[in-house]
């Protein structure tokens, strides 16, 4: 249990990468990117957890309560916003890509050979 959360985060990261590598559809790839990012949420919150602690919200808890780390929660909030916005932007690009190339299959997009 003491390392399970960290390992799960790593697993999610690698699985997301695997999906990106093997993806045949860019919308699916963007979804995999979102999966990859969720690994960062898990890691950050796991790092900030304190056994027996409660949420650092003192609306309904005594000011002296034993609480978990609020900083990582703030970081994760920012992270989630970043994830949603990046997803939106990439999806917008996919829409235009489909219009111009007629496909969203990366294997068929070979415009940018170097």
């Amino acid at each position: 249990m003491s390392v399970l959360p960290y390992l799960v985060a790593g697993w999610i990261f690698l699985v997301g990468l695997y999906g990106l590598v093997t993806s045949r559809d860019l919308i699916h790839a963007v979804g995999c990117l979102a999966v990859t990012q969720s690994s960062t949420y898990v890691l950050l919150l796991a790092v900030g957890y304190r056994r027996g602690g409660t949420a650092p919200v003192f609306a309904d808890a005594p000011a002296g309560a034993r609480v978990v780390d609020p900083v990582v929660q703030a970081l994760t909030l920012t992270d989630i916003v970043v994830g949603a916005t990046v997803t939106a932007l990439l999806l917008a690009l996919v829409v235009q890509l489909r219009k111009r190339h007629g496909t969203v299959d990366p294997d068929r997009l070979s415009e940018l050979r170097g």
């Binding site: 990261f13 960062t40 690009l93 890509l97 070979s110 940018l112 170097g114």
Partner: protein, 670 residues
Amino acid sequence: MSAFPAASALPLVVAVPLLGAAVLAVAGRRLPRVAADAVAVAFAGTAAAGALLAAAGWARGAGGAGGARGSAYAVQWLGGWRPGRGGGTGIAFVGDPLSLGLAALVSLLVIAVLAYSWRYFEEPPLPPGSPGTAGAAGRSGAFPALVLLFQASMSGFCLTGDLFDAFVFFELMGVVAYALTGLRVEEPRPVHGALAFGVVNSLGGYALLLGIGLLYARTGELGLAQLGRRLDHGGGPDALVLAAFVLVTAGLLVKAAAVPFHFWLPDAHAVAPTPVCLLLSGVMVELGAYGAFRVYWTVFAGSGGVPPEAATRTFLTVGVLTALLGAVMCWRQRHLKRLLAFSTVAHGGLFAVGAGVLSADGTAGTALYVLAHAGVKAALFACTGILLDRYASVDEHRLYGRARELPLVGGMFLLGGLALCGLPPFGTSLGKAIAEEAAGRQLPWLTGVFVLVSALTGGAVLRAGLRVFAGVGPRPRATAAETAGTERTHTGARNRDRGTDRHRERDPDRGRDGVDGGAERTPGDEVPETGGPLRRIPATMLLVPAALLAAALAVGLVPQLAAAAGRAGRLFAAHGPYAAAVLDGRAAHGSSPPAVGWTGTGAALGLASTALGAGLALLAVRGPLPEALDRVLGPLRRLQSGHIGDYVAWTTAGLALLAALAAPGTVLGR
């Protein structure tokens, strides 16, 4: 506030462009184009003034007034969250000469870009009578607003002294850059390039964030200074520190386009609008390297971090690989924008080498090199943009001799090529000389790498310039491979034309161009960004590259700059003093700055690389490369497949590579 100029101006350098962007996003639609541009320039100029003011305040030595009085670091704790005992809970903006200089460079380059695109750069066209969303797209404020956001993000990335805050600005930089790269959605390739750019850079950001998480788990801190301190108290490095180092460095090196994270860069640069290329190539890529070394010095350089030999091994290996691959690929290109993009990759490698020897003078030289390179590379892109808008093509072969009528542009282009080779007294030459001397002391053969790479990249530019602007040598013939390429991309070219009918009306012969543009699989036929080919070159488009080249020259000629770079290098390549200044407000008492300036050997090496580059160029214009060489380089070129899956696989491989490079001496064999 007494200390206003120096320290308190730091956050405003970021905030002012944000205000400008917000204003433009709304007012831009109602303003005429000129007014929108004027507003943008005004805001960018204010921020630039702030950055320069802060830099000047630092030069006066009053820099630390915001935080550490008398210290050479201007420290500003946002929200006034000064650290009590412990590390404090706020975010610090730290202005040391290097970060302030980079912030100033960013702002000045943004002004140059806005001037370059002054009233000419074709905005996303406004579809007639389209409501809300579509109409909003056509407004004339969108482009300058995005540029201002770009400026804010890059300045913030330079100035922040907090690792997670750096990640936020890293992502902001990315988001703006993806949008700017894909700005011309009427064409197929920009969207594709922007998507590859977006996916790879986002992965880099997530790797960076995982690294931040690991560091936080170990130290429970986020500020660079605090992180460094806690690591040093924690005892020797272990696998955790190594993993954090690998993840963080990889994330930042993705932005720096180091091998094998570099694939996105040529794809993005080749298709991004020219004014955007100025920013991407001029400073954004360099910021990636800046971040990597900033984090190394402040966090990992101590006793608890990564041992110097492991770090320098990592940086030097990656840097040399990047420089060589970039140079070779650059030489192979005939699509001018891709050529310049690969030269940026190559020089990024040189920067990694120069700063990777982890010495003050190496850092100082690299700083000068970056400064001058920004000017030169931006000028070259500006000239290419003129070609693009005049001839609707940036293909070296198709433009053969056509640009004889532009002697001024040609002169600037060739001058830029020479400066890229390292011709004294350009700043590129000075920076290269100092950096390669520092590197040569570590490993003698690194000097050869500097000479060879700058000669190859500069030579490629010279070759293209001679062919395009002077028509030197025989008209290039299509090799077998290229005709095959034509075959392959025939349908692609037709596909490509579809999105751009309105341009074809203006330029009847693009149909043919489009078809044989398939050669080399990077077709040279482009759509002018001015909306229709340019008949007369606006003065601004000529002034900007001229000014940029002059600035690059000045970097080499003004001794004060070199001296400042010396002090900057010492303050940047310092672990303890940084933390002391940021956390305790103690003045930085470092060793005396390295003597930085012209040396005989440096100038000689610069002349040598210039001569080599010119010779290669003259040799190349006589005829195409021998087929054998072509076959050798073929596989290298095929790596640049434009396939997002490939790029992700290479990114993963790069992470593994970094781990393998940094492990010996850190966890293995200790």
